[in-house]
């Protein structure tokens, strides 16, 4: 049943993305100043929002794991970090492509871009840590600690527009923007959200499966019963 729901979600996400692409590439008007380059915003902004959402989920799961040692928290943390990296990398690349015709440069060291890049490297470190620690329980604890500390970066990204002078776009409220653009952006945001949920859910299942394999003791050794770790943590 859950399998059907997941597949349905994927189909929904793909359909929404297709419509969103049509909205973004054709239906929405060109911007008064940015022209057609504005259309990149319809994929860049939702991508960055999904990345931040995923990182927030990672933060919550990291805290959750430290409070209650459940493998579900750990797997969900792993899934959300990886998916967050995906959306973040895509978003950063798109932002750079957008910057070239509008600001004239591929990259600039303004606070928002800088912290976004830092965030990506920080979570790359998180994923590297997960790969370099063999013991599942220690890995879960240390990853949780690392995830919490890395997340402290996230508010810096979101509020840096207000805190420092920055050439990044001031977040425009929908009232001041063409309604067609608002709709296009909103639609694409929900499309990316649907896809993101599908990715995280699927990656979570992969992680849980890996945990089961790791914790299953070889039959020749005295072992904990299937489905429990040696210390009795339920899978």
């Amino acid at each position: 049943m859950a399998q059907r729901t997941r597949q349905g979600l994927f189909a929904l996400a793909v359909a929404m993305l297709a419509i969103g692409a049509w909205l973004g590439l054709s239906w929405a008007p060109p911007d008064r100043e940015m022209g057609d380059v504005q259309r990149i915003m319809y994929v860049h902004v939702p991508s960055m929002w999904m990345a931040l959402l995923a990182m927030t989920l990672n933060f919550a799961c990291s805290i959750g794991y430290l409070l209650k040692k459940s493998w579900a928290f750990d797997s969900l943390a792993e899934a959300s970090a990886e998916v967050g990296m995906l959306f973040g990398a895509v978003g950063l690349a798109l932002g750079s492509i957008w910057a070239r015709p509008t600001w004239g440069v591929w990259w600039t060291w303004d606070p928002r871009l800088t912290t976004a890049a830092i965030l990506l490297v920080a979570y790359a470190g998180y994923l590297a840590l997960r790969r370099f620690v063999e013991d599942p329980e220690r890995r879960a604890v240390w990853a949780a600690v690392t995830g919490i500390v890395a997340f402290v970066d996230v508010p810096l990204i979101w509020y840096s527009v207000q805190w420092w002078r920055s050439i990044h776009q001031i977040q425009s409220s929908p009232k001041t923007v063409d309604p067609q653009m608002v709709l296009t952006l909103r639609w694409n945001t929900f499309a990316f959200l649907a896809l993101g949920i599908f990715f995280i859910w699927s990656r979570y299942r992969v992680a849980q499966s890996e945990r089961r394999h790791e914790l299953a003791a070889p039959p020749t050794l005295p072992s904990a019963p299937q489905g429990l770790t040696a210390s009795g943590v339920r899978l």
Partner: protein, 231 residues
Amino acid sequence: MNARHPPGLLEGAFLILRKDLLIEWHTRARLNALLFFALATLLIFSFALGPDTKLLEQNAGGYLWLAILFASLMALGESFRVERENASLDGLRLLPVNPRAVFLGKALGNAAILFGLSLVLIPVMVGLFGVSLALGLGSLGLILVLGCLAISAPGTLYSAIASNARARDVLLPLLLFPLIIPALLAAVKATSLVFQGDPMSQLNSWLLLLGGFNLTYWGLGVALFPQVIEE
């Protein structure tokens, strides 16, 4: 302290701090290596970036903190080596010492080593890069203290993690560097202001930023360290 009264948080921290600093002092070879590494880094910067003294002087703050940061990797990487090689972390765990005290002691020890290092580097900066202390030694001292504390807190936390993982020499900088960049930025900007003067009174904002980072990182370290070394 006697067996009936386990040391409190601060007392425990002080004991760990004293132990670590004593070990460092007795094996001075390592401290010397650290110092020469930092000096060599500064020398390399001056060679690599050319003889244009104006440029060197302008960017001196950056070079100083880069040298401290690279040296910190050595210092932090070693921070738990003694415990790992002698399995004495188990001993520490068995003792009625609060794990938070272990963190405080170790992190303060690392900060102290880095601060000592940076003090030695200042006259070298003056000689090699021709900088002058426009805002005085007090301001510089404060920036050095705050910066070394800011590196040491997350560095000690991550060192405890990395020293038990594979590829520990790669993992520590990979984990630490992205996190430390904003604090590093604040320290470099503040140091440059000290070297070159502060006509627009920006120093206080950078110091506040450094202070804020320290509060955050030390708080997180104290909160999370017990989980990190728990068996």
